[in-house]
Symmetry: C2
DNA sequence: GTCTATATAGGGATAGAC
DNA sequence: GTCTATCCCTATATAGAC
């Protein structure tokens, strides 16, 4: 994979428009607008505004009037893209998880050596969350406010990401490259450190820690903990 | 300090009533009820319900009508304890930070040896968050929904807790017991792992990981990362 | 496909009885 | 010190014009 964050960005070349285009195609049944170029352009603004407003004061506190004002669309117009307010969370979350899982696999599967593979996983997660900070933050913070069924989906999706880490660690242990640690628990605390990167972004900026520095820190931590 | 979680609980002997008694005394100017035994009893129920309801679906989504029904008090009666809904967050958060900081210092300051002192900090944080899980979870999740001024207070309070970890690590480096790591960054990621304990409590329960197992895991991680 | 106007419900907060 | 009744506002969601 790419050597640093800037190369990763170029390699992935993931624009807001492209993200929303895929999101539109996945949810064509739900969205009443049929012309792709119209729908995608509006979705970009709707989601952009949702993330900004909700990450500021919480999703519940953001009224659809606030949202429509911020994204430059009328209140009635919004309802051509969603059936109700909660659809917005679901839309954003589901696509985020899908994208994360796919990207994690794309950059880890080609790497055979366990230690490098784990590092690739660490970097991919950090890089992607750096690129889509607001998206990740929103998904994390609003997960608990979902209705039962969708909450379970969200928990399951989170677990799927964690399982990618778990599998790498297990594989490393089986290959004798890693010590015989508790792989599940190791994956969990690694995940906690990965998530802190987007949850406390401001703090790390104040510390002058950039994403590659943070990645190196986690690599060293895991190396020391886990290498045979 | 105590050897395990159960001994810690006995040593600290912190009941809901005692927590709310102190909270009442600190906020006597704000609370209109003057008889301590009356006020404390009601505060216990109010806060208990607030934590349960807000941790379920978010603080904004919890109406004061829900709250009054849950805690068995009338809507009008509630307003003798708070001036407005946001007071509830502030009340809970401020006292939580105070209690955490005091408890952390109480159990770490007597320990001179850096490695043991760091372990004492780890265990105290985990134990306290185990004892007051709902409280910690609430404080974390609702911090971002506070108005500017109070949000800054919350960030500062969080930093004060992190600084306790930072100071211990710095001290260990100065004493030559720890490697010359980035102390600030080390404290930050340690904090992330400590917080994951109360943020993902359900996950760890499903893994059959109890608080002392988790504490040992973090001790080993930090040992391997930081020992000279 | 997007708008304005509006229906309907439920929110926070207060007044004043007990 | 606690309750009931109520004020007033803003929320989500929809109807129907353009």
């Amino acid at each position: 994979m790419a050597e640093d964050y800037e190369s990763f960005k170029l390699d992935l070349s993931l624009s807001k428009t492209e993200i929303c285009r895929e999101l539109f195609r996945e949810n064509a049944n739900l969205i009443r607008i049929k012309k792709e170029h119209v729908a995608v352009g509006n979705l970009v603004r709707i989601i952009d505004s949702t993330l900004r407003l909700a990450n500021g004061g919480g999703f519940q506190a953001m009224s659809l009037r606030d949202l429509s004002a911020d994204c430059g669309m009328s209140l009635g117009g919004l309802y051509a893209y969603i059936r109700n307010k909660d659809d917005l969370i679901h839309l954003i979350q589901r696509h985020g998880f899908k994208l994360t899982q796919r990207t994690m696999l794309r950059y880890t599967e080609p790497v055979a050596e366990p230690r490098e593979r784990l590092f690739a996983a660490i970097r991919t997660h950090l890089y992607l969350s750096e690129l889509m900070r607001a998206w990740f933050y929103f998904s994390y913070m609003e997960a608990k406010n979902l209705p039962q069924q969708e909450k379970r989906e969200a928990v399951a999706a989170e677990l799927a990401i964690e399982n990618i880490l778990y599998d790498i660690i297990e594989q490393g242990i089986a290959a004798g490259r890693f010590r015989d640690v508790n792989a599940r628990l190791s994956a969990s605390v690694l995940k906690a450190m990965l998530q802190d990167w987007y949850l406390k972004r401001g703090k790390y900026r104040r510390q002058n820690v950039d994403v590659d520095t943070y990645a190196q820190m986690l690599r060293e931590m895991m190396d020391r903990y886990i290498l045979a």
